[in-house]
Amino acid sequence: MILGLHLAYWQTSVIRSLGVLVAVLLPAGTFVYIFLFKMVSFMQSRLGPMEAGPYGSMQLLAEVGKFIQKEDIVPDNADRRLFKLAPYLVVATVLLVYLVVPFGPKMRFVNFDGGIFYALAVSSISALGVLIAGWASANKYSLMGGLRAAGQLIAYELPMVLAVVGVVIQAGTMNLSGIVAAQANGKMFGFGGLGNPYFITQFVGMVIFLIAVQAELTQTPFDMPIAESELVTGYITEYSGMRFLLFFIAEFAAVGSFAAVAATLFMGGWAVPGIKFDSGVMNVLGPIVLMAKMTLIAGVIFFVRFTYPRFREDQLQKFAWTILIPVALANILVTTVLKVAF
Amino acid sequence: MLLNEFLFLAAALFALGVYGVISRRNGVMVLMSIELILNSVNINLVAFGAMNGNLTGQVFALFIIAVAAAEVGVGLAIVLAIFRNRRSVDLDEVDLMKG
């Protein structure tokens, strides 16, 4: 009986895992198509993929089909095992972040007490994968790219963590479902009609968080690690075929995961004002609402990416340490004082 | 589960860490070995905490993680200083007493 139960648990877990993979790949693919192919093209007065399928909608399938049949090259000088391990690490960290994001009152994969803390911890591991990828390629561009990337990831991990603290102070919990509830049921200056979405009351925190996300994702203006005009493609210079595709997927899945976290932290997650917070219909509606919010945030990320030039490495570090982190600390102090005083 | 399982695991890590500290030439590797030792302590603390049903063990594990961070920071800085002066992180070649 217990065995049967365990088996059932296994099965449900596997099914749920596949569900998460869909939840990862769907937004990632959507973002690639909408933003990388189409929005940027429109911003540049052109059309983007048109031939593969109607309006180029099959382009992504073609990409996958192409990369799967590309030769897989591991350079002679590279550290074979670590070279092969690195993409797994990078992808896995991204996937694991998705696990804690709630998509509805019951639509969630795990419900951790320290949900946001877990998300930050897991995402900080990707710096490791990037460093290993850069080192194991035995390539100068890769190594410099890896070092830059890791230096940047850790420099912006901190403002991100500190920006979240403000939300945690306001919500009084680290559980992401709890944060959603706190926003849906909260009051803003005594007015509860819209709940208390933190993008208003934690505006500074959100700006810091989004800037940090931009940097964590190594998107322009913070894309020096993969700055093609300097370091070719940085730490992925030596990767070919499927392994490269894994990095590519990871990049866009990470956009999705950070957008999901940001949407949950600052925009009320899957909840919408006006619909009762924990009604069953939100289990269906919630994922759609969250996806819409994610798309909005990802849109901003790519909008900025395709508009700005990039910083220099030291300017980026200086920006993080002399502006973002002090501001984030001040934000914590202000939030603390407000929370305690009122 | 037995408490001893965790304690044995910690002991094994501790012994390996001690071996590493004594036998490694590379200063960075010695620091890593020290990390093993600190981790074994952490496992012990948390296990005892669970055994006794209070949070002291966990809180102290947190403090130890903080201490480990400080230790690695200073330790690596020393290794780097040595490296800059001697172009080597080989502890055999570095006799600090001589200067």
């Binding site: 900080s124 | 002991a11 890593m32 049903g53 966990q58």
Partner: protein, 190 residues
């Protein structure tokens, strides 16, 4: 292997079989990785093995119900300290094929010390805590404190820090400050 067998033998209740197996597998990985940390010739490999030890430790913390410590272990150890290690390694030249001579000539002494230590520890542990069992995992929603192994919430840890361990907490910040300044002074000195 022995650990897995031991774990399986110690299975005192069916519910705990899974935990014991999990413990055994993780412990075996940890010990193997720790062994490789102190024996591999390649510094970067050593760092990667260290990551496995540290993640294994985090998993053990989860088994012990210490969720917050486990995540902290990931955040600080894996996400920060190992990265610091890797930076240190890359600042000090890590040949991709590993070092020619990674161990000192005195390694037998180290091995001997470690073996003696392990023997002593094993003996004393078997003597001291031979039959002590950890409390079972709580199954009820509101367990009595201390009677069973329950995940300790972040709030509880926070309460502990901000009541009993306030002084150590503040001292920690002093320690970190001192370490920071010290490390900067050492690293920047030309």
């Amino acid at each position: 292997m022995g650990l897995i067998v031991a774990a399986a033998r110690n299975a005192d209740a069916p519910v705990l079989v899974a935990q014991n197996i999990a413990f055994g597998v993780i412990a075996a990985i940890m010990v193997f990785s720790a062994f490789r940390v102190v024996t591999t010739r390649n510094v970067v490999h050593a760092a990667v093995y260290l990551v496995m030890v540290l993640s294994g430790a985090a998993a053990q913390f989860v088994l012990l119900g210490a969720e917050f410590v486990a995540i902290t272990q990931l955040l600080v150890y894996v996400g920060a300290i190992v990265v610091l290690f890797l930076f240190g390694i890359m600042l000090t030249r890590a040949p991709i094929r590993g070092e020619e001579r990674a161990t000192r000539d005195s390694w037998p002494l180290g091995a001997f010390t470690a073996l003696v230590l392990a023997g002593l520890l094993g003996y004393s542990l078997t003597n001291g805590f031979g039959g002590d069992r950890l409390p079972r995992y709580c199954t009820t929603a509101a367990p009595l404190a201390g009677s069973c192994l329950s995940p300790s919430g972040t709030r509880a840890i926070s309460d502990a820090i901000f009541s009993t361990y306030l002084i150590p907490f503040e001292v920690t910040s002093l320690l970190l400050l001192a370490a920071l300044i010290g490390a900067i002074v050492i690293a920047r000195r030309d």
